[in-house]
Point group: D3
């Protein structure tokens, strides 16, 4: 029986799902993050040190406490999306979607014919989710397109209109770069133009009836984004949380 907690929460009227990125290639680290209370975890095959085989190992440790396993693929290639799903992901985030054609490639890879072109072979998802998997998965999976380039922003309405698209997800760091704002740190306070774009995306997504998510630097930003209409957020990453806590711990131990 499949229960995609991210899908369930964004389907609720006022739901807001909280997640983070996994960038570490440690499956045990993923097991600890799985127990930390998130609604979903986004395994980052784009910027994390995570390849296809590592992603498989991490998926094995996610979901024990109800957390939804999502995978960000390194690029919008059907075979990567299909392998993530075969291995047990319940959603795929495709980076750098610049136009509706890109979004359509993603959505096609996420579902079996006639709704898409996913190839048959759920090698791990089959035994893990059980006999009902094939019947249930097309309704449970999430196809999520990243909006993080100027081209993607310009094509936003067409992307939002792509059949089968379940959500969009904003990458503020790359969006700031794409808008020629330099390294903003990915926070709307860094630049009014970035703030404006982030606000506009939420509004247009809502108008199109598509859930919008966004990557956040900290919990406060996530709460602010929720106020703008965002329905889910990733906050930092496993390695980022660790590094920040480690530096603080070492400093405090020295009495600095």
């Amino acid at each position: 029986m499949i229960d995609n907690r991210l899908r369930r929460i964004i389907a609720e009227a006022d739901g807001f799902a909280v997640g983070t990125f996994l960038m570490s290639d440690s499956a045990t680290s993923a097991a600890m993050m799985d127990a930390a209370g998130y609604d979903f975890l986004a395994i980052d095959r784009q910027h994390g040190v995570i390849d296809d085989a590592t992603c498989l190992r991490l998926l094995a440790e996610i979901g024990r406490h109800g957390t939804a396993p999502i995978v960000r693929v390194p690029a919008n290639r059907p075979e990567d999306t299909m392998r993530a799903l075969d291995h047990g992901a319940l959603g795929v985030i495709a980076p750098l979607i610049d136009d509706a054609a890109g979004a359509a490639i993603l959505t096609a890879a996420c579902r079996f014919p006639p709704h898409g072109g996913r190839s048959f072979g759920p090698v791990r998802a089959g035994p893990v989710y059980g006999r009902g998997y094939l019947k249930a998965i097309d309704a449970q999976v999430l196809a999520i397109a990243m909006i993080e380039t100027r081209a993607g922003l310009d094509a936003l309405d067409a992307i939002l209109a792509t059949p089968g698209l379940d959500a969009i997800f904003v990458g503020p760091n790359d969006l700031g770069l794409g808008l020629r704002l330099g390294f903003t740190g990915g926070h709307p306070d860094a630049d009014p133009a970035l703030a404006e774009a982030i606000t506009a995306i939420a509004t247009r997504a809502k108008g199109a009836g598509i859930a919008a998510g966004i990557h956040c630097t900290d919990p406060a930003m996530a709460r602010a984004m929720r106020g703008l209409g965002y329905r889910f957020a990733t906050i930092g990453s496993d390695l980022g949380l660790m590094a920040t806590a480690a530096a603080a711990s070492a400093d405090q131990a020295r009495g600095d």
Copy 2:
């Protein structure tokens, strides 16, 4: 040229070295911890998800910023100690040392004849530290015996007198269990008997001219231990820091 920062700091009159345990099998996680400002990192092959090959991968990411790579072996076996050194460790922590014979097994494995019985073959340490390695390593390496059982506590003076022993290291969680105090969480405040033992060990080590270290739950405990005469401390672990920060982040994002 070998510079063992942990050895250097505990050789200073009032030095206090700050480290933590690496329990994750992610080398990139180790690289981030290496950049976090610790004096040393203790790769935990006893309780971490780290085996011989993983330890090798982690060692490759430690030392770039001057941090000393130390390995806690899974048990006090010469071949594990010798492999850790061959792979580049500058010190070995042996767990559960119960008597002077155990300490002598450790110290023998840490140095080449005539000072010990280390077997020749520094496969990675050779190229990494360069031509002077063989001449320098015996004076740079640290042999560190854990005091964490009742037997070890009873035999403390004999252990401290072991030729070639460079330091002892207290494991308060196991020590509390060994003293029949149950799960104390490893903090002296949990039980006066544990506090008393921790204080006594520092005093006796100082009397023997051997540096003592201890595992701490947080920076405040580390500072308190420094006050007791401890010369180095591990504070938490990579995965522990991450898990605590993650749970807090998820809670705060929900406004809980």
Copy 3:
């Protein structure tokens, strides 16, 4: 909440638990075996191609459908037993136990003080089983000693009397070799002396109030062993089942 299905079944009056050995180093293979309907799976670090890190990966895929994860360690060493438990095993099978001293080493490694000498650090078991782990595990874990040598057979009563021992497990292949019967294939029909020993072990274990298990070549042998009083059985292995099925499939396809 820990539920050790193997422990539960052998605690029932007429329970009989069915398992098999995992010898493959494929975690996805383990996930499929986890879904195949066994009561327990015994990860074979002795003869399988499974080391410490691989065992960790396999443990991540076991238990989703209620199957109990058990580990056979490569030898009766405390650090291997303790690592298996830290990584999430709910029982340990120690091979080649020749005497009560060996059994006592095993049982000591399986439980925390004061019941044993297990060292604190459940890196994966903690987050996976949750907050109650430390309180519950000593009552849930299974310490299982293999009887498979002449020495072990001779010392059986002393072994059965070891405090903390939860079960014994017969290895008929090695037992046949140990009794100087040659390669019997591990089936009692191969030699009356083997059959006699297998029967006697069940009887004596029952007399001592200790559950006995045995490795079986096929389901028919398992049912026969149940008739002798055995309470659990491993039947073949993942790779053995695969190889037999593969050879038959290839033959049949050729119409041979």
Copy 4:
């Protein structure tokens, strides 16, 4: 000296080659399958839990008993095909070929100039097959295009006419989906339209002088396909054979 048993058998007048898919990432599992009596083994990088590095490990265990190592790539990308060949594969199956252009990309990647565009660098194939490799491989390699979409079926004649194409291979599960027949289980008995397509493909391939293969659910289907003119078949997979045998074994042991 290269001997591609699959190529040899399909070159015989009435040869029929029997193989299966490897989906497991265990090299030792592959070694057992290598000894099971197949003519070829198809390492499944599309749906198996097998990436580039795992494929390399599996190739090391195939061929000891004369079995031909074939690789199904995750997608029809030249670099994946070329890496499989550099690592020792003697044939490549490209999935989801929809048109002659796709088939031409495959065939170009399989052979060196002037017959194709394979880049020079047989890192493992060189030492494994010996000095004659470069001269022999272009005549020994197999370029195999999968027919498993409606588009591919429509373009079949053009695909069959692609210079350098050695065989086609039918994926009945995906073909059934592509023909809008739903999840057929990949057996012609499931749907007359699927049966018709499977028969037609064999006929048209024979007419074009190209060997056709097909994936089969069981040995009986393979024999039936041989009757239709198919020249080679994969029957199930390593993990599928294991899972079926395991479930039966557990059931029988309980006397169910």
Copy 5:
């Protein structure tokens, strides 16, 4: 602080940088090569047995002695280039560049906006190179296009004119194949047409103000290429050097 030794040397008036290819998947082998005295090491993800995760492991061992880590990607895909940089590479060699469009894809992936389209997320490069990484990397990175096909040779001037291209790199083995000269062994002495092409490329690159490098079979060829105007060379590979030395050693030991 980033110091790209390859970039620095080719920026000098008469600098000539010496490197080799890493084809082995052993990180310790890379550590030994790092200590062997090269100016740069080119991790070969195209023909070496090195995938994304292995490349990460090798990068951890390069640079300790000042050697520059360069990665040859398996194909000219932005996500592979970007991951190599995120993991710490200071330059990327893209194989089989046939036209200016290909070169532009490479250069765009190598730098952040506005100079390119690199996506933000330097997971390992950040902590390894420190805080100044983001500001410094665009000026330090090397985008290197391989010239090794007839198409690439024909389009050389357009490729050389690509904004952001830092160097070209000649693959003589593939170039010989592309020119229909068969297996030349990659040495200009093998065929006058190959020699002519190699000479012409150096001349045209110099005219365009772009540094040219080339793969060499041995040191003598490297010195000859320097005479032609080449500014950097790879000479053989880790595994090639080992295999040649091993065969000679075995022969000599037998007194052959």
Copy 6:
């Protein structure tokens, strides 16, 4: 059918077997060494970066051209010896044998009862060597004790008299250290006392009818050792050969 080339050669009247150590964890490197012309390869689990799982991967690449796969275990532990054999090794070198008891532990682990105490379970050796494995292996396997400490030298005659011992193997580096000669580089020319010991060992082994082997720095030393009566030699290692060749190549390319 098992053919142990090392065993065969040392059984010949004037045979001399040439091998080397594998210290790299690259299986493809092992495949290249397998093709380089050695009689045997000694996988070095003591000083090489090779653990149990890596050893398994390397064994898969050895023997294709008739080379015998031998494993040096990290320490003289029966479970390591038995696993090496289960995985396909045809001989085991145990380091640091100090007395006859140590030699007896080694020989017991190498053969099944009644000749030893090897436990049944040849998971990879079974399918790789085929049905005759169990009957043939006890006569084919080689139990090889290292003589490399003062204690071992003192106990040499008792060690040579151990039933089941097939050969001894001298480690000159450690022997020099053990004799308090410092770092000799392992060559008899470095110190007359080392030369004397090396000569004496060959003589006494010959007297006991046990083949002696020795580790050599170069082919010339191997030929000299043959003259002393040694019957097999390892010469350097994979990584050592590579590093030496690499440094020379870089130097020559610069015209230094």
